[in-house]
Amino acid sequence: MKTFSLLRTAPVFGLALSGLLFSCEPKKKEDPQPQQPEPQAIRHDSVYVVNEGQFGTPNGSVSLYIKSTKASEKDPFLRVNSRTLGDVVQSMSVVGNKGYVVVNNGNKVEVVNLPDFRSAGVVTGLALPRYLAADNNKGFVTEWVAYGQTGRVSIVDLRTNAVTTTVPVGKLPEQPLLLNGKLYVPNSDENTLTVINTTSNQVETTLSIADGPNSLAKDAAGNIWVLCSGLTRYNPVPPYNVLSSTPGKLVRLNPAAPTTGRLELPFASGGATNLQVSPDGQQLYYRYEGAVYRMSAAATALPTTALIRRRLNGIGVDPTDGTLYGGVGNYTTDGRTVRYNTSGAPVDSFSVGIGPSGFSFR
């Protein structure tokens, strides 16, 4: 009965092989970090690094960095909740003891308890959401909805995580600014700022600014600065040539009289983005042509020399000490966050998730 012994050998081979294959998975690797951050130690000492992950793959993450101990953790959400945040983690807003993580290609906002990152809810029914700004128990989420269409702002009841109403805005709305009961929404595929009354949830006005407004900041004097990247239009049919291209502009306006007395500072080319402000409201930072620039909020001309000559995916400014955080990394490997002092000199760096591009602080 040789046949049957032969038959038996195959499963044995299989078992031996599978033993070999499964016995040797890598040890669950955490970042080579000096210590795991201790939750109770997290008190206004935390930096949240938003890592987009790879587009089309839900491996976006938020990394945690503790300033006092310099401890970091690549993905506390995954550790605590045994699932990833999602596809293209775009931004995170801290509201009270909660973090609102906007997942652009997941069409959702993940709500987590801080400091432990335990999942506390999900806002669904969103369409390509970008940023969340909060006023009392109201969250305002800008959404692209779809390319080529007008965007919207969904208003979320932060107690129930339900969308209560939506407000149409312009195309590709980006990071909004809340100021004095008004929400200023930059419509980055247009030249406008939509102003929404946060009490009535109605659009109050739409301001013409300059092509491609993408980020806003409020300075010490109470002015709003609007960074506009310019717009490049391509022929939608072959040969897909550039039909028009406008340079960027940095625009200062007075929220009390937004249409008069503006300061407009033109760039030589397009692409300026990621406007940030120092804790005292005296300095502005932005990224332009592969570098980071700093400008006094009292200046009337754009700076000509860069503060940091490095291409960063995104920058953030610590609202307590002014330290500058920059994200570096391609989208195939874990990224790093480099910390710079206020004069632009690198201080140190730590390992984060894939594609670090945004920062929030607590």
């Binding site: 040789k2 092989l17 998975e25 089309g56 491996n59 690549k74 596809d87 291409r311 894939i354």
Partner: protein
């Protein structure tokens, strides 16, 4: 079937070969044409038309092959080459879901380091430099030979990690028609038809296959509050393939060959678990036409071939306008073989290729010419030593890749009446021409250098028969290799922040490959067992500071261990096949910090064949992922749990 037995004429008379042929002739009935005509025997026994192109082994002494013959392919007649290779070989095929984009990795290299050949021409997309194995239906190929290791001298650009040679199906003598209907889980339906006619001067064969699948299988999604079972959305597909082969014997020495292969696939693109469904959809259509002429001399032969390949890819989703890609690949080859002596053959050849691309992204029409000349030498100084020396020199626009030579040897160390042991090895240099995307994308790099590879391997091959005359036959092959790819192209952001390809790294892969095969026959019972294992270590070993991927860690999606076991049995009209594929953990990013766990997949099929006069009817039940394993091949892409299909096949001859 091992390469040693493929062609060399002096070997044909040997006892072992005859044993093998006799085994081949007893293949399970449903797997093969009623009168089976394996490629070699067909030419050996029937000096009529030569339908089959030369098998790759002739000028590849010392190379390792993995072959899926018609028996191995039979359960996958309604599937794709990706399905068959995943289940029946330790090669790693990365797939984004059932029927979705499937790219192969041989010896730790990427899909663009693998040449895929049909009738001697590469069918890799010229834009991407790689093939999607999910677009190649098994129904349209007769066998698959995978040559491991660098072989650019034989196959040209891209054959750095290996080459996949798709063999045509040979028409058996006489008239035959056959058909198949199949239905399975998740809306899988398939229909195929084949007809052929062959006599001493004409061989004609037609094949058609259509399949459709909803792929609305259930998968577990981790969500707030725990695991939620969801049905896969946006993963349906429709796929067709048509083949037409014609071979005419014009005279005792002249033969004309024509071949046509048209494939079409309309696929929804399966979104990742947890990602928004953007209703992405891709249409892929390819047409491949070939005309060849062969003239046999007293000492050798002359062959010319011309081919036209056209590829269409349309991709769109609800966030973008449909993107179009149209490419044409016009190619011609001429070669002359001198058989100076039975043990000495030299083939010299040249080829010319014109690529024409109308790709939305390029913003203009691209035309590119490529040329190559090659020489292949096979010399067997003694019956126990076989040597091949091959070289190819290509000429590309602006760049000249280095000469790509291969030196291979096989030496019979030991032989008895029933056993033989061979020592084999080869050393080769290879290259990969930059793809059209790498050169002509608006942010592409026209100055890219060709990637170059250098590899060597060595191993042992043992064959034996045991028991009463050939009742049990075994083959064991062990190969160790090392491969170095230099100027590896990587896309990284340039100074303007645009992603652009650059020659950035050196990648080293090394490993061990093992395969074993056992064949047992007793009366009308037959058993074939196959075992394969690959240990693959692939690392970037040096690069530039701008390339942030770390050195010295295993590359993403290269499993360290992969193995498979397949057992095929037949008795009277019954057949039973099973295959177990094992894949170890794979890192999912270049940092080697995140990984997918290893998994095992068990497939099996059971069939019964009835013969009624000239009709042969087969019913086949197939089961996939029988252990109901939840796994992911590519991160966050759901794969089906246990599923089944019922296949009914009929043939008349």
């Amino acid at each position: 079937m091992y390469a040693f037995f493929s062609l060399a004429r002096p070997l044909r008379q040997r006892g072992l070969l005859l044993t093998w042929l006799s085994l081949s002739l007893q293949l399970p009935a449903w797997a093969q044409a009623p009168r089976p005509a394996p490629a070699d025997t067909a030419r050996h026994l029937l000096p009529g038309v030569q339908v089959q192109a030369l098998r790759p082994a002739r000028y590849a002494a010392g190379s390792r092959f993995t072959t899926l013959d018609s028996v191995a392919l039979a359960p996958y007649q309604a599937g794709t080459v990706a399905d068959a290779l995943s289940a029946r070989s330790p090669l790693y095929v990365k797939t984004y879901g059932p029927g979705q984009l499937a790219s192969i990795s041989i010896r730790g290299t990427s899909a663009r380091h693998t040449a895929v050949l049909w009738h001697g021409f590469s069918l890799n997309f010229p834009t991407l430099g790689e093939a999607d194995f999910a677009l190649l239906p098994v129904a349209s190929v007769g066998r698959i030979d995978v040559q491991h290791g660098p072989a650019a001298a034989l196959y040209g650009t891209g054959a750095m990690g290996g080459a996949v040679v798709l063999g045509a199906q040979a028409a058996p003598v006489g008239t035959q028609v056959s058909g198949m209907v199949e239905a399975g889980s998740f809306g899988h339906r398939a229909l195929s038809f084949q007809g052929s006619q062959r006599d001493s001067s004409v061989s004609i064969r037609t094949g058609f296959m259509h399949r459709t699948a909803q792929n609305d299988f259930r998968y577990a999604a981790p969500e707030l509050g725990g695991t939620v079972w969801r049905r896969q959305e946006n993963a349906a597909l429709n796929q067709s393939s048509f083949t037409q082969d014609l071979s005419l014997r014009l005279s005792a020495h002249d033969e004309l060959l024509g071949a046509l292969w048209i494939t079409s696939a309309d696929r929804q693109i399966q979104p990742a678990i947890g990602s928004a469904n953007r209703a992405a959809r891709e249409v892929d259509q390819s047409a491949r036409a070939l005309l060849g002429y062969r003239h046999q001399h007293r000492r050798g032969e002359t062959a010319v071939r011309a081919a036209w390949f056209g590829d269409l890819i349309d991709y769109g989703d609800n966030s973008m306008r449909t993107s179009h890609s149209r490419t044409q690949n016009r190619q011609a080859q001429a070669e002359h073989t001198f058989q100076a002596a039975p043990n000495l053959g030299l083939r010299l050849g040249a080829e010319v290729q014109q690529l024409v691309a109308d790709v939305d992204g390029y913003r203009r029409r691209i035309e590119e010419w490529r040329f190559a000349g090659f020489g292949l030498l096979r010399y067997d100084p003694t019956p126990r030593l076989r040597l091949t020396l091959n070289a190819r020199q290509a000429a590309l626009p602006h760049r000249r890749p280095p000469l790509a030579p291969t030196l291979g040897a096989e030496w019979e160390l030991w032989r008895t009446a029933a056993q033989q042991l061979w020592l084999k090895g080869n050393v080769a240099r290879s290259y990969r021409a930059p793809t059209l995307n790498e050169r002509y994308w608006p942010t592409g790099n026209p100055n890219l250098l060709p990637e170059t590879g250098f590899g060597y391997e060595g191993g042992l091959h043992h064959e034996a028969r045991w028991g009463r005359i050939g009742a049990i036959g075994t083959e064991v092959d062990v190969t160790a290799y090392r491969l170095l790819v230099d100027d590896w192209v990587q896309w990284i952001p340039n100074d303007a922040g645009q992603w652009s390809p650059r020659n950035l790294r050196q990648v080293r892969t090394q490993g061990l490959e093992f395969s074993g095969q056992l064949h047992y026959a007793a009366g009308r019972y037959q058993l074939t067992g196959r075992l394969g294992y690959a240990f693959t270590q692939a690392q970037k070993v040096s690069g530039y500071a701008v390339d942030e991927d770390p050195s010295g860690v295993q590359l993403a999606y290269v499993p360290l261990h992969a193995g498979n076991v397949a057992v095929d049995q037949s008795w009277r009209g019954w057949t039973l096949t099973s295959s177990l594929a094992l894949t170890s953990y794979r890192y999912t990013d270049a940092s080697a910090t995140t990984f997918l766990p290893g998994y095992a997949l068990l497939n099996a099929s059971a069939g019964r064949t009835f013969r009624v006069q000239r009709w042969q009817l087969t019913a086949l039940v197939q089961g996939y992922n029988l252990t109901n394993t939840a796994y992911q091949n590519y991160a966050f892409r759901a794969m089906p749990l246990r599923s089944a299909a019922l296949s009914l096949r009929a043939s008349w001859y």
